[in-house]
């Protein structure tokens, strides 16, 4: 057990070091940092001074070490485009993305499980078949087209919901929230549906197939023979046993919600980290790109690590395997 955890963590650290190296090379080799910081009127003395000041005259491994030391403390330098520290900009933008991700994740999990259970129990029903067909179309539609379609229906034609921005926000400490105002909540609806729809169909189909499997199991048949009510069988016995794979997949999907938020945020001009990243690519704002790269890698690597360790804790078969090798 201990050896497994150590090996797995070591692996994660190596991945992060490699990603760090990519981010570092972006800084060091994509364009000349000196060029980016000094204006047109510069002397050789200025260049040399800044080179020593920034430590660019030192060997590459030393520079890399320094970069990592700064990065761990959340210091990624100053955005080329906005002229402000990257960490400040990201801290400003993070609440928007996290709120959006939280709401759509919640939507995806609750609706996904509910619809999955429904379509599994009423397998032959008309409603269940309609839901399955619609979900198939939902999977093949690209995210940005779903967003545009929703904007067209609810903003252009029906004029019910806003098509861009976050609405009014309230500051609680350093956290700007859209949960407390009507316009903030209204602005959240369309982006949250757009972002959550794909994950929802994924969870729904997974729950459905797991549920169908479990409903055929012997213990469910015995429960039926014992005369338990359908509700108790479906929710107490069957649903509980479908949850292990659902939890793992949902955990792994958490990361992709943040990644797909880039697309949703661009469609709805949602002022989050994803929109910041897209703008950074368009304007080649290296510090912002590097910071986002590091941030998202830390997130993905930790999610994977946690899911793997959880799996190890839940599934005893893995432990036997690990001991055998």
């Amino acid at each position: 057990m201990f050896a497994y955890i150590v090996r797995r963590m070591l692996q994660s650290v190596i991945v992060l070091l490699v990603v760090g190296l990519v981010a570092f090379s972006m800084f060091r080799f994509v364009g000349d940092p000196i060029d980016n910081m000094l204006g047109q009127e510069r002397t050789q003395a200025d260049i040399d001074r800044l080179r020593t000041e920034l430590g660019l005259d030192q060997p590459i491994p030393v520079q890399y070490y320094k970069f990592l030391k700064e990065a761990v403390q959340g210091n990624f330098g100053v955005s080329y485009r906005q002229g402000r520290p990257v960490s400040t900009i990201i801290a400003e933008r993070a609440p928007a993305t996290l709120e959006l991700a939280f709401v759509s994740g919640f939507l995806a999990i609750t609706m996904g499980i509910a619809l999955g259970v429904f379509t599994a129990i009423r397998r032959q029903g008309v409603a269940a078949n309609i839901i399955m067909t619609v979900s198939l179309i939902g999977v093949s539609l690209p995210t940005f087209l779903i967003g545009i379609l929703l904007i067209y229906i609810f903003s252009v034609e029906l004029d019910l919901l806003p098509s861009f921005g976050r609405g009014e926000t309230v500051m609680i400490g350093n956290w700007s929230t859209g949960f407390l105002t009507t316009s903030g909540l209204k602005a959240l609806i369309l982006p949250a549906i757009t972002l959550g729809l794909y994950q929802m169909t994924l969870i729904m189909r997974l729950v459905r197939s797991e549920m169908l499997e479990v409903l055929r199991a012997d213990y469910v048949r015995f429960a039926r023979a014992r005369g338990l009510s359908d509700r108790v069988i479906n929710f107490r016995h069957a649903l509980k046993n479908t949850m292990v794979p659902v939890i793992t997949i949902t955990g792994l999907q958490l990361g992709s919600i943040i990644a797909f938020a880039i697309i949703t945020e661009t469609v709805f001009q949602w002022p989050g980290v994803g929109l910041l990243f897209i703008n950074a690519i368009q304007f080649v704002d290296i510090p912002v790109m590097a910071a986002y790269l590091m941030l998202i890698s830390v997130m993905f690597v930790s999610i994977n690590l946690i899911v793997d360790l959880l799996y190890y804790a839940i599934d005893p078969r893995l432990r036997v395997d690990a001991r055998a090798t």
């Binding site: 990519v22 897209i278 690519i281 080649v284 690597v301």
Partner: protein, 316 residues
């Protein structure tokens, strides 16, 4: 893949009729979905290839543009010039039908090239990993595992961003298409490598490989002349499904403004342009490119699904 073996004693039937009576063609003839999907793909691909011949206007030729024609609704004559356009015009008076044809050319070019490149990288790395094993295999498969934990679209965006930073500003627009191809290919090779490695691990211990080794053939001829043809059918399935994903990935990146430049608009770029006119009522600038993209992606996807079932003997 046994049906492709040709015997020298000439069979009475022609190659084509042999193919037509084979399992593969039979399953195609009996699947309406596959027939319709392949017809749609065929029509779209042909009209993209012959775009300069079919398109009534050349949207990239400023001489053929008339700003007075801007925002002409589909099928109705323009108020000033009395010109009619099948699918209307955009803000600059460009014929939407023509821009779709040219846009589809770029979408298909990027999609097909990206999948081919990903396929080559994946096949080579997958075969090398399976054949040589050892630390090479560990290294390749570890990289693949790590990359798989990141969503492909995110990897493509990052590669695009880095490449954009490396190319000098004056070449950025020209290079954008090729950067896009490389970015999508590098985000997609893992699928191919994993499948090829899995299939090649089985093939490598078969007798024909041992025989080839016994008569002294080198590693690379064995890998590419002997093992490769026997692992190709799953690769074909993945390539088709990857093509649909690559077309959508390209459209998404271009839509986000990190793909094909406005000077060479793909379907995604056209949708990006059209989104700006959604509120003012000019729906056709967005609607027709979006429908084309959907038809293309959906039919390639359905074709891939059918191919997977047709080539998998276990499902028959």
């Amino acid at each position: 893949m046994t049906d492709t073996i040709e015997t020298p004693s000439a069979p009475t039937k022609s190659r084509f009729s042999k193919f037509w009576d084979g399992d593969f063609a039979w399953s195609f003839r009996h699947s309406p979905v596959a027939i319709i999907a392949s017809l749609v793909v065929l029509v779209l691909v042909l009209s993209a290839v012959f775009a300069p011949l079919i398109a009534p206007y050349n949207p990239f030729d400023p001489a053929s543009l008339n700003l007075m024609n801007g925002f002409t609704p589909p099928g109705t004559p323009n108020a000033f010039t009395q010109d009619t356009f099948l699918l209307g015009t955009d803000d600059q008076g460009r014929d939407v039908f023509s821009t779709i044809l040219y846009g589809m050319r770029i979408s298909l070019f990027v999609g097909v090239s990206a999948v081919l490149l990903a396929m080559i990288i994946g096949i080579v790395l997958g075969l090398v990993a399976a054949y040589f094993g050892g630390w090479i295999e560990t290294l390749i498969m570890r990289v693949a595992d790590v990359q798989l934990t990141f969503p492909a679209i995110l990897v493509a965006m990052l590669i695009f961003g880095i490449a954009k930073g490396v190319t000098p500003p004056e070449y950025r627009n020209e290079m954008a298409i090729y950067v896009l191809i490389i970015a999508i290919a590098l985000s997609d090779w893992v699928q191919f490598a994993r499948v090829v490695r899995g299939a090649a691990l089985v093939e490598k211990n078969k007798e024909y490989v041992q025989a080839a080794r016994l008569i002294g053939r080198g590693s690379f001829p064995i890998m590419f002349r002997h093992i490769l043809p026997n692992v190709l059918s799953p690769v074909l399935v993945i390539a088709t499904i990857s093509l649909a994903l690559a077309i959508i990935a390209e459209a998404t990146l271009s839509f986000l403004g990190v793909g094909a430049p406005p000077t060479q608009p793909s379907l995604g770029t056209l949708i990006r342009i059209g989104q700006g006119f959604l509120f003012s009522g000019e729906w056709w600038i967005l609607f027709f490119p979006a429908c084309t993209l959907l038809a293309l992606a959906l039919s390639v996807n359905l074709l891939g699904d059918w191919l997977r079932d047709a080539l998998n003997p276990k499902l028959r």
